[in-house]
């Protein structure tokens, strides 16, 4: 029994920042380099706890704040998410768009992280998406609007903190139609908690849609060393455009 307790303590320590020493780059920062993928696909299906339904396995909530794991939608906003869920053809990813932050970090496809000098680069296989994150303290772009926004990173100890602004407000959070709207900003935290585990957290602030901030946490797992990203074509060879909704159709349950 005593030994079991020791093991539990050891396991507890292993998950604390002080217990795990990450591999480091010559500049002293932790080395996040490699190919990663969300350890659970539950978040890609639905960031909230969800029962199984057609095409969607059941899964737990990845929302760690607020307690209870539900998105803190303002009155009327959850109805828009439900409307989206009933019109998944509106999903921007289904229309070849990049996922937007934070959804871009937990799709059911691998992504590569590369650190080079003052940049952290994230290449996603899906939609051949790209995030280039300067860590040199430069200011944000002005009047910018983009699917993956404009990212600025800095290190807090061994944690990479990335602030994201300039999101276009059209991105979904998951396949179930949960969404962010105009003016959303995100603060992400990346931290190696084990050799092959990169903990990813994103705090989303979006007063137009949510009554308070919320935070999702998804562990990313390292893919084997021989895995390479493959090219992802979506627009190329598109044959189903006629079945997609009109570009003038409402998005996010009527919010444009």
């Amino acid at each position: 029994m005593k030994h079991f307790a020791l093991l539990v303590i050891a396991a507890g320590c292993a998950s604390a920042q002080s217990a795990f020493t990450p591999p480091r780059l010559p500049d002293g920062h932790p080395d996040f380099g490699g190919i990663w993928m969300a350890a659970t696909l539950s978040a890609a299906f639905n960031v909230e706890e969800h029962a199984a339904s057609y095409g969607t396995p059941a899964g737990p909530s990845v929302i760690v704040d607020p307690p209870g794991g539900k998105l803190p939608y303002l009155p009327g906003m959850r109805e828009r998410a439900i409307d989206n869920d009933q019109h998944r053809e509106r999903d921007p990813v289904g229309q070849c768009h990049m996922h937007g932050v934070p959804r871009v970090m937990f799709p059911p496809f691998p992504l590569e992280i590369l650190q080079d000098g003052d940049y952290v680069v994230i290449l996603t296989e899906t939609e051949h998406g790209v995030r280039i994150i300067p860590t040199d303290g430069r200011p944000f772009l002005k009047d910018y609007s983009a699917w993956n926004g404009d990212s600025r990173g800095h290190w807090e100890g061994d944690t990479l903190v990335v602030e994201v602004r300039g999101l276009n407000g059209k991105g979904w959070l998951d396949q179930a139609g949960n969404f962010v709207g105009a003016g959303a900003t995100v603060v992400e935290r990346f931290r190696l908690t084990a050799k092959d585990t990169l903990e990813y957290e994103a705090q989303v602030e979006n007063p137009a849609v949510f009554s308070r901030t919320f935070t999702v946490r998804v562990p990313l797992r390292r893919r084997p060393a021989d895995v390479e990203l493959l090219e992802y074509g979506c627009i190329e060879g598109e044959r189903d455009a006629a079945h997609l909704p009109s570009p003038n159709a409402p998005v996010n349950g009527g919010q444009r």
Partner: protein
């Protein structure tokens, strides 16, 4: 006993982490191609019409096989509607390098990554000697494997899909396309780019283009997101700010 096993486990695991091949990444200065670059000139419009772009053969003409030249001519006539780039296909190589949009080069010990602003295409170019994909696996951007010859990064690109064009004038290739690119930094702000283009189904012999690349040295310059969206007909189109 359990404690001993745990200690052994930790001992066994630790060296594997510290000996990771990614632990020591650095790029020798002469091999440093990093930065945001952009092609000078207008080679993207028409490789044959831009003086000095085709350096081999000496007459500056693409050495098409006879039947292929007529396909290029038909492409030229229809280029306003049939250029795959207009509907946001990934551009292919070497066309992606020639576009009037910047691209950014990143380097690791075993790979060079190029991110292009145009439709956020990217290439991961392994420089560790690993082989190409097998025949029959095709990519719009091809499969790139690099090596250093002196201070030149030589990139061998194969496994192409046949749909992409080489420029906006309808010059084309088949899925037998084989491109050998050479990137040589010539000064702090300039790089020489050469591409040898082989495709025995379309061309009688290999031919070569040469274009100068300029570094974007403006403070805080960065790539911006170039994402295509559907127009009223449901066709993917470039956003207005990227239309040339």
């Amino acid at each position: 006993m359990i404690r001993l096993a745990l200690a052994l486990l930790l001992l066994a695991a630790a060296p594997a982490w510290t000996q990771s091949p990614s632990a020591a990444k650095s790029v020798k200065d002469a091999h440093d191609l990093r930065g945001i670059w952009q092609a000078k000139g207008n080679a993207y419009r028409n490789l044959e019409a831009e003086k000095g772009v085709i350096v081999d053969p000496a007459n500056g003409k693409i050495p098409y096989r006879a039947e292929a030249r007529s396909t290029a001519d038909r492409n030229f006539q229809a280029r306003a509607t049939t250029d795959p780039l207009l509907v946001c296909f990934q551009p292919g190589v070497p066309r992606t390098t020639l576009l009037p949009e910047p691209f950014q080069i990143f380097q690791h010990q075993d790979r060079v990554v190029i991110v292009y602003q145009d439709v956020h295409a990217y290439r991961v170019i392994f420089t560790d000697g690993r082989p190409h994909y097998d025949d029959g696996i095709e990519f719009y951007m091809g499969d790139s494997r690099g090596r250093w010859e002196g201070n030149t990064l030589v990139v061998d690109v194969t496994n192409f899909k046949p749909e992409s064009w080489l420029d906006a004038a309808g010059h084309f290739h088949s899925n037998k396309l084989h491109v050998i690119e050479r990137y040589t930094r010539t000064a702090s702000n300039t790089m020489n780019y050469e591409a040898t283009i082989e495709d025995l189904e379309v061309f009688q012999r290999p031919w070569m283009i040469r274009v100068a690349l300029a570094l974007h040295a403006e403070p805080n310059f960065q790539l911006i997101e170039h994402e295509c969206d559907r127009d009223a007909q449901g066709v993917y189109r470039h956003p207005a700010q990227f239309l040339k």
